[in-house]
């Protein structure tokens, strides 16, 4: 039942927006990874998930906001049962570690899909990254950080729209990024943001 629902979701994604993966700077391998991408629409999570080869998809969990994906039976079914999401609180209560569910998934050996902007942009530029990516890079130096650019998604399903329009989208996977010795939080986050942005400028990569 879940497997069939997954196939339907992938088929629907391919039919409407394509969403094929283009590996321009890295290869699809079994290494443990955090894929981090720009965020322009509610489809982003599904498209990046669908862009991964089957074997990698099975061991990768998207990180999703509890306040959106945790609400309503259908959304919960898609997020938890189909996509195997890790839900996080965007507004974590003081004193708690909002990254705890992510660390638990990493400890399980799973790869993650992360949108470090924290919220959807309007598509023309990428907003500053939140600190989560830096914190995870710091505590999990063995996990590869792969920048991903999601192309066209803000056009296919802009904020406020009810249905996605059929416009071909793609996920471009770039070269792994490493936290440098003693690199400052802001410098790293800006470098990570630039790595995603560079993948969105054709001709450069």
């Amino acid at each position: 039942m879940i497997a069939a629902a997954r196939l339907v979701l992938i088929a629907l994604t391919r039919f409407l927006v394509g969403g094929h993966g283009r590996w321009v700077g890295s290869e699809p391998t079994f290494e443990q990874r955090i894929y981090f991408a720009n965020h322009g629409s509610h489809l982003d999570t599904i498209v990046l998930w669908a862009a991964l080869p089957d074997a990698l998809r099975a061991r990768t969990s998207p990180v999703a906001a509890r306040d959106y994906w945790g609400k309503g039976r259908l959304r919960r079914f898609v997020a938890l049962d189909i996509l195997d999401c890790v839900l996080v609180e965007r507004q974590a209560p003081a004193g708690s570690d909002p990254l705890a569910p992510l660390r638990a998934a990493l400890a399980d050996g799973r790869s993650l899909i992360l949108f470090p902007e924290g919220t959807r942009g309007e598509g023309s530029s990428i907003m500053p990254f939140k600190s989560g990516l830096y914190n995870l890079a710091n505590t999990h130096p063995g996990v590869q950080l792969i920048p991903v650019f999601l192309d066209n998604l803000a056009r296919a399903f802009p904020k406020g729209a009810y249905v996605p329009a059929p416009i071909s989208c793609a996920a471009r996977f770039g070269a792994p990024l490493r936290l440098r010795q003693g690199e400052e939080r802001q410098a790293f986050l800006e470098r990570a943001r630039e790595a995603v942005a560079a993948l969105g400028r054709p001709g450069e990569v």
Partner: protein, 313 residues
């Protein structure tokens, strides 16, 4: 399948494709040099894609008009998707774009299914033409309004309205030729595609003078005249699957060839103005769906109208 003509056509097409597969196999063993190998590889994947397309066409015929309509609707869908993907639409265009896809594609093909010819002829040129800019204007963004509206209109006209005229041949009624409509559709597609292939072959063999070097470097006068006339001759030879006399069939084929040529040229110019080489990557060796359908977009409405005007009741 009770019509002997279908069997003859199918055998003919399979024969041609077998010859193509054989030729590309022989060539691939003899090909030397990089340029030659690329050409042969290209030929190889083209022949393979042809097999698939012919199989789809045969299935459409066997399974009846509804399947044919669904297949053409899907073709329109993919062509419009390719066009809109390359067109820089904005979030403010979303409602108009979604309406073009989800309302006008099903509507146009349903009108063919319903054989409602008068509305079929005006649904997009009148109603979509007027409705889409209204949806866009409601989003309130006036920046490049005319450009954005025009691009969507062009996309919808070419990929849905024009292409839908091919399966619309199924609803024409020509006295004395009832139940033969699918053969006319075959006639149209066969002449268009043969003309494309023959123009390519004549162009490769004898092409010197380019028709429009900046738009489409592969199109030459030698290719157009040699390939176009041969395709028209083949069309005349196919008169027995049409309601036309041999001379009329040749004339119709010539109209299809010329319209198809213009379609290829215009679509190529649009593609270049959008900064792309191929419309997409859907069919291996053929680029996108619209790269295969570019000639059909112009040939189908012209052939439909000529047949309707001079022969149908």
């Amino acid at each position: 399948m009770d019509d002997w003509r279908i069997i003859v056509l199918l055998a003919g097409v399979i024969g041609i494709l077998l010859a193509g597969s054989l030729a590309s196999f022989v060539l691939s063993r003899r090909a030397h040099g990089e340029a030659m190998q690329t050409t042969v590889q290209n030929l190889n994947s083209r022949v393979k894609a042809w097999w698939v397309m012919v199989a789809i066409f045969a299935a459409a015929f066997l399974l009846g008009p509804v399947v044919t309509l669904v297949l053409f609707a899907l073709t329109s869908f993919y062509c419009l998707r390719e066009m809109i993907t390359l067109t820089p639409t904005r979030p403010a265009d979303h409602r108009a774009v979604a309406t073009a896809f989800y309302l006008f594609i099903p509507l146009q093909y349903w009108l063919i299914f319903d054989a409602w010819q008068t509305v079929f002829a005006i649904a997009i040129p009148v109603y979509a033409f007027l409705l889409l800019p209204v949806l866009t204007v409601l989003a309130g963004e006036t920046d490049h309004f005319l450009e954005r509206t025009a691009k969507l209109q062009w996309g919808l006209m070419l990929t849905v309205y024009c292409i839908s005229h091919a399966p619309a041949l199924l609803i024409l009624r020509i006295p004395g030729h009832e139940g033969e409509n699918f053969l006319w559709l075959f006639f149209l597609i066969a002449v268009v595609q043969l003309s494309d292939v023959l123009q390519y072959v004549f162009g490769k063999l004898a092409g010197r003078h380019k028709v429009a070097p900046r738009v489409s470097p592969a199109k030459t006068w030698e290719g157009l005249i040699g390939g176009g006339l041969s395709a028209a001759l083949v069309g005349a030879g196919l008169f027995w699957i049409t309601p036309f006399s041999p001379l009329q069939a040749g004339g119709m084929a010539l109209a299809i060839v010329l319209a198809g040529f213009c379609g290829g040229l215009v679509l190529s110019a649009i593609k270049r103005s959008l900064g792309a080489k191929d419309w997409g990557t859907m069919i291996e060796g053929h680029g996108g769906a619209l790269d295969r359908m570019d000639s059909v977009t112009f040939a189908a409405p012209i052939f439909f109208h000529l047949t309707n005007y001079f022969f149908a009741v």
